[in-house]
Structures are given as C-alpha cells and as structure tokens.
C-alpha cells in the first residue's frame, strides 16, 4: 500500500474563488498600470556586481548597474539570523526525554517493533479510503 499523493476532492471552493478574485484584481491593476519598457542593465557581469554590492565594494560596480548602496551590514545580520535559526531548529527538534544520542524515529512507512499507536493508525488509515 503506497501513499502516493492524490487529488484533494474535499477542498473548500470558496477559498479558491477568493484567491481567484484576488488574482483578478492584481492582474487588472498590473495590466492597466501603464509601465514603461524595462530599462535593463548595462554592460558588465551582474553576478559580479551583486557580489560587490553585498560586500560594500561599490567602486567596482559598473555605472549601468545602478547599485548605490552596500549590503555588508545586512549580509552579516542575515548570517547571524541563519545561525540563530539553526540553533532554534536544533533546540526544537531535540528530544529531551531520552538524554542520550538522538535516534531517528522514522519507520519508513512499515510497521516496526516498538512503533507507537500514532504510526499504527496512520499506517492503517489510508486502506479505508482507497478506492
């Protein structure tokens, strides 16, 4: 018994209509905005200019790329935020009731020895709904 994804048929269509209405409003605004043709970038490597802008080396950026501000502080802030997110994810995911090394609790979809009730019920649940 595989658990391949199936098309959901019990969805709420009112939400779909709401999302479609939002898309219609946005599309109307965008089409009637009267935007000019894009200005585009001048000569020079865009990737290199992104790197220069990220490390505050603005004198190396060509004039056609229009970068007038450095992002070194933002770069370092994002680095700290990523580090904090990694620590937070590890803190959330750690099991504190075992104390020892963290073991992988996956069962691979098969009923195994010592499986909890939740995995048992999940393993047998899709059999009823299978057409």
């Amino acid at each position: 018994m595989t658990s391949r994804p199936r098309l959901a048929t019990d969805v709420n269509y009112v939400n779909g209509i709401a999302a479609l209405a939002l898309f219609a409003v946005l599309a109307y605004v965008f089409v009637t905005a009267g935007l000019e043709p894009p200005r585009g970038f001048g000569e020079g490597s865009i990737v290199a200019s992104i790197g220069y802008a990220m490390f505050d080396m603005l004198e190396l950026v060509p004039d056609g790329h229009g970068t007038t501000e450095g992002f070194l502080v933002a770069f370092l802030t994002i680095a700290v935020v990523l580090d904090a997110a990694l620590d937070g994810a590890v803190m959330l995911a750690r099991r504190d009731d075992e104390g020892g090394s963290v073991q992988a609790a996956t069962d691979g979809g098969r009923p195994v020895d010592g499986a909890t009730d939740a995995t048992e019920t999940e393993a047998t649940e899709p059999a009823g709904g299978d057409a």
Partner: protein, 101 residues
C-alpha cells in the same frame, strides 16, 4: 528585446494566489510551509522584475536576503512541525488550536 514587466507581475500574482489558496485550504503543516514559500517567492519575482525595470541591482541583492530569511524560517518551521508531531501525533494545524495543552 526584453520581456515587459507586466508578465513578471502576472506570474508573481499567480504564484502568490496559489500560495494563498494553499494556506486557506490545506490542513497539513508541511503544505502550509510550502504555501508560505510560494508567497515569499512571489515577492522575490517582483524584486527581480523591478530591479530589471529600473536598471538597479538592489532588488536582486535584496531577493537574495529574502531567500536566506526564507531558509531560516523553514528551519524553525520544520522544528515546530517536529514538536507538533510529537505532541499531537500528527501535523494537522487545526488540532493545535491552543497555545498550551
């Protein structure tokens, strides 16, 4: 011959609305995370499109930072989903309706 900016904006609006529909409809926390990612990436498309529109690279650099923030958000989100699965034996977001249990 460059693609006009309206097409980028329409793509971005479509991706955003797909993400919004996913958030409004789904009950699995993992699909919630995927929908939030769709909405964030719609904003990224706008950043890159308007960077090209104005000939200014700041939008592209900023979209890189948005991607890094999205990665951090997913890391914390998956940690929360792990705790949710441990406490509720499932990742249905409608079951976890209270802050304390």
């Amino acid at each position: 011959m460059a693609i006009v900016t309206e097409y980028y904006l329409l793509l971005s609006a479509a991706v955003f609305c797909i993400g919004l529909y996913g958030i409004l409809t789904r009950e699995s926390a993992l699909l919630f995370l995927m929908s939030v990612e769709l909405m964030l990436n719609a904003a990224n498309i706008n950043f890159v499109a308007f960077a090209f529109y104005w000939g200014n690279l700041t939008g592209q650099v900023f979209s890189l930072f948005t991607m890094a923030l999205a990665a951090a958000e997913v890391a914390v989100g998956i940690g929360i989903i792990l705790v949710l699965y441990r406490n509720f034996d499932g990742i249905d977001v409608t079951e976890a309706a209270t802050m304390r249990w």
